[in-house]
């Protein structure tokens, strides 16, 4: 998978990728208001990266770099999610308590409402996008080298 695909596919992928990413972030940020959420939006964003790698191709060195960066973001996402869960334990003694909702409830149907739910959605979205992308890189792009 070094050369990528034809110019038509490349141009279409480059044209569509920003829209797919914006849609993914919209789905994540409005996860507590409209259907969708962190998981669906994260898969959108991961899919945008798939599209670019499939259309433009990727060599081994670049793929290893992508994989390391994706692992970093994946670990960050799961860490933020666990931190938000433990935050309730630290503040009020109840694991996974919605601390922000109790402290400062926002207006319902606004983007900044529902306490920690949007933050959890964001963390899940980052984790899912990076996890799927690193899995894609591992399974589809990187090939196993024969041992000498």
């Amino acid at each position: 998978m070094k050369s990528g695909m034809t110019p038509i596919v490349r141009w279409t992928a480059r044209f569509m990728t920003p829209f797919i990413m914006v849609l993914g972030f919209y789905v994540i940020l409005h996860g507590h208001l409209t259907p969708g959420g962190g998981f669906a939006g994260g898969v959108f964003i991961g899919g945008a990266y798939f599209l670019m790698v499939l259309a433009y191709g990727s060599d081994e060195a670049k793929s290893v770099f992508y994989k390391r960066r994706a692992s970093l973001f994946e670990c960050a996402g799961i860490f933020v999610f666990w931190f938000l869960a433990v935050l309730g334990l630290l503040r009020n003694g109840v694991f996974f308590l919605n601390v922000l909702q109790n402290a400062a409830p926002g207006k319902p149907y606004a983007v900044f409402s529902a306490g920690i739910i949007p933050l959890c959605n964001l963390a899940i979205g980052i984790e899912v996008a990076a996890g799927l992308f690193s899995m894609f890189i591992t399974l589809a792009v990187l090939s196993r080298k024969e041992k000498p």
Binding site: M1, T34, P35, G36, K67, Q101, E127, F136, L139
Partner: protein, 177 residues
């Protein structure tokens, strides 16, 4: 509606059988796609937009990953089974299916009808979800607040799965001392 559901279920079962029996791996993966997209249509019919979005996106991603992985191989299922062994597997499978069907007919006789009555705990979530969590999307209120432990576990399972995949399929082996 029930007729359409059963029709889709039949298509899914057919796709699963073809995916298992096909010799070409690419055909198997496309038949797996039939199962996933039929499931998406079922979710839309049952009015579950959250699940339908996730299912259609995940199905597309999975197909892309699997096709990209299969195109690196020589696309042929090379597992050989002997004649008597295949007969044994088929016979055992048919016996198990027959027993499960017998048990299911007895068990389903005592179940309430499809989607009636709705559960009481669900009614509580639907009434109080917006007031207690402030999330307008009831699904988000349930999966991230009332049932947050489940989602935390799922995210951890996904993380573990990705770590496991990358560990097993990593390119460079451990250095030998």
């Amino acid at each position: 509606m029930i007729t359409l559901l059963f029709l889709l279920l039949g298509i899914m079962i057919l796709g699963a059988i073809i995916a298992l029996e096909s010799r070409d791996l690419l055909s198997s993966i496309i038949c797996l796609g039939i199962i996933g997209y039929s499931l998406t249509i079922i979710f839309v019919i049952l009015q579950a937009p959250d699940l339908a979005i996730v299912q259609i996106i995940i199905e597309t991603m999975t197909l892309v990953i699997l096709i990209a992985a299969v195109l690196k191989t020589d696309r042929e299922d090379t597992t050989e089974t002997f004649g008597w062994r295949k007969m044994l597997i088929w016979g055992f499978g048919l016996v198990v299916i027959f027993l499960v069907m017998m048990a299911a007919v007895r068990a389903y006789r005592h179940l309430p009808a499809f989607a009636s009555p709705s559960l009481q705990i669900a009614a509580y979530y639907i009434d109080q979800g917006l007031a207690l969590t402030g999330a307008a999307n009831i699904v988000a209120a349930i999966i991230l607040d009332f049932r947050g432990y489940d989602t935390l576990g799922e995210a951890t399972v996904l993380f573990t799965a990705v770590v496991g995949t990358m560990t097993v399929l990593r390119k460079t082996g451990r250095k030998e001392k």
